[in-house]
């Protein structure tokens, strides 16, 4: 179904200084994105998904680990590159930002915004660039005559389309979409999701779709990775993550998303999400886990392949005994 590996992240950590101390927003994360696939990345506040997305775009500097991008000439580690050396690789990975209101320069016209990457990556200039801008606008469903308008004249959905056109301009292979529909009205969200999927099919793009909206992720993604407090706690094909979550946090997350056709009482977690500055010991989820035992507070679980293609990090489950409900 999907092609070769495009991006391989190994043991990536990203640290910040926040009030209270050093925070490891991303802590030893490893994942792969294959050509043409959509990987969904879900989690709640403080889980590090946005930081991970930004690390791939090198909008922050990793403190450890590697981000291997597989170019036709071989893998390059983005984490080790800076400034000038990073520039040519930026073409391949682009980003669609969350807030359509602040991700476009208010003083630039729509046309100029979409043209900018063509100029900075030296893809096209002048007349050629204008032609490409028109085509890009059509591809994202914007009337090319809007090129002379300013962002403030457009609606949220239209602005997001501009952001998508800008990301497409460099003909990237991977687009990191950071909560691309969160700021939009429900009736517009479907439009943008359809657009993203259509573009993916047409251009063979890979997506890292970061979202807290589990329904949208289950729809768009081929595989889903769940993050909690800087770690990946489960990875599975999208269809399975909803129907058969293995790790307790994922179970809670899925049950909390109300299915419209089933009025389900959710599995309710006790406690608050711990602060990333001072994460719990052992398995970071143990403070809220209904199945936690003594071992869970000192032993940090690794991601283990419990079922084919389905990985979970939980001290109590294993390929022999994948169902946590079967335990006390």
């Amino acid at each position: 179904m999907n092609g070769a590996t495009l991006l391989s992240i190994r043991n990536l950590s990203v640290e910040f200084t926040a009030k209270g101390g050093r925070v490891r927003a991303v802590d030893g994360v490893s994942l792969d994105i294959r050509k043409g696939e959509t990987l969904g990345l879900v989690g709640e506040s403080g889980c590090g998904k946005t930081t991970l997305g930004r690390a791939i775009l090198r909008l922050n500097t990793p403190s450890a680990g590697a981000i291997q991008y597989f170019t036709p000439d071989g893998p390059r580690d983005l984490a080790q590159l800076h400034g000038e050396t990073l520039l040519p690789l930026r073409r391949h990975i682009q980003m669609v930002f969350q807030d359509p209101y602040s991700s476009l320069n208010p003083r630039m016209t729509v046309g100029a915004i979409i043209r900018e990457p063509l100029l900075s990556f030296r893809i096209a200039r002048g007349h050629d660039a204008e032609g490409r801008v028109s085509r890009l606008m059509e591809q994202v469903g914007l009337d090319p005559s809007y090129r002379r308008r300013y962002p403030r004249e457009l609606s949220g959905g239209q602005r997001q389309r501009v952001g998508i056109a800008r990301a497409l301009a460099a003909s990237p292979e991977l687009i990191v979409a950071d909560e691309p529909i969160a700021a939009l009205d429900v009736s517009i969200q479907a439009q943008i999701l359809n657009l993203l999927e259509g573009l993916r099919a047409e251009f063979g793009l890979a997506y890292l779709f970061i979202s807290h909206d589990l329904r949208a992720v289950r729809y768009l993604a081929d595989r889903v990775a769940v993050m909690y407090l800087g770690h990946i706690v489960e990875t599975a094909p999208a269809a399975k993550i909803g129907s058969r979550p293995l790790m307790p946090y994922t179970k809670a997350l899925m049950s909390a998303v109300r299915s419209i056709d089933k009025v389900a009482r959710p599995m309710v977690l006790s406690g608050e999400i711990p602060s990333p500055v001072n994460p719990p010991s052992g398995c970071r989820f143990h403070t809220r886990c209904p199945w936690a035992v003594a071992e869970c507070s000192h032993s940090k679980p690794e991601l283990v392949e419990i079922e084919p293609g389905h990985f979970a990090a939980c001290n109590r489950i294993s390929p022999e005994r994948p169902e946590i409900e079967s335990m006390a």
Partner: protein, 328 residues
Amino acid sequence: MSEPLLSIRGLRVGFRTEHGLAPAVEGVSYSVRQGKTIGIVGESGSGKSVTNLSILRLIPSPPCEIGAGEILFEGRDLLKASQRELRALRGGKIAMIFQDPMSSLHPLMRISAQMMELTRLHLGLDKPAAKEHSIAMLRKAGIPDPARIADGYPHLLSGGMRQRVMIAMALSTSPKLLIADEPTTALDVTIQALILDLIRRLRDETGTTVVLTTHDLGVVAGMADRVVVMYAGRVFETAPAAELFRNPGNPYTRALLRSIPDVASTGDGKREKLFQIPGLPPVLTNMNANECPFAPRCPDAKALCREAPPPFVQVGPDHFSLCWEAKA
């Protein structure tokens, strides 16, 4: 029991701007019986928040103008009540919680002081009794170590905790009516589940009537007995919750239900295009009064829909729809 606790009839609200009167609510009517929960669903521009805030006349009166209608609470028209009478009701018989808890919690007052202010005023408790009562309410709301939290200030708490404090505060006077304006929109999914569960528990315990506003149909499915769907300042459909989801009687409702991705992913690389509602959400200031406000985007629109505003038609027991195509 036959008389609804709250009954809004023909409410029209607008905002006076330098360009004239901007309509926000155009003839909204709904009612809710004692002990029941009504869910109001709508996107931006639907007028749901303005309707809520108008119940207690919380919007400053220029620029807000209440043009027509009645809001009957326990048989009395609140729109004709004096500010003093409204003050007596606010926090007492009618309580309200908001999307952003920081906006209704005083940052410089201890939590216990804020809660006691309410209970002493509306329940006539003396200081020690009020303090006890506050701590008990916080405990009921699932706040750990309530005595210590009560002595603290709001900014020390997380979003989910503040929301719980707000709910504890709102319910501390055993109000007859609780208006919840997008109470979980800004929260993480697992915390949302907690908060909604809390509202449900307390509601079941005290028999409070709840008006819950949200843009999330899933939230409504789990909480409401009855649903009101709003669009462009009007009620487009109202029905018992189960009936609405099973048998939506209005193209807008149907479109909303269809455009929300649920478990549609087939996981084999091919996914169906999501149903999307074309066009943009309405801007109330430049609307044509002689057509159905949804007509420009409606997949089922006929010529009649653009010539005259649709009637509010009964399509089933207790089930009404604003549509030319609606039939019993």
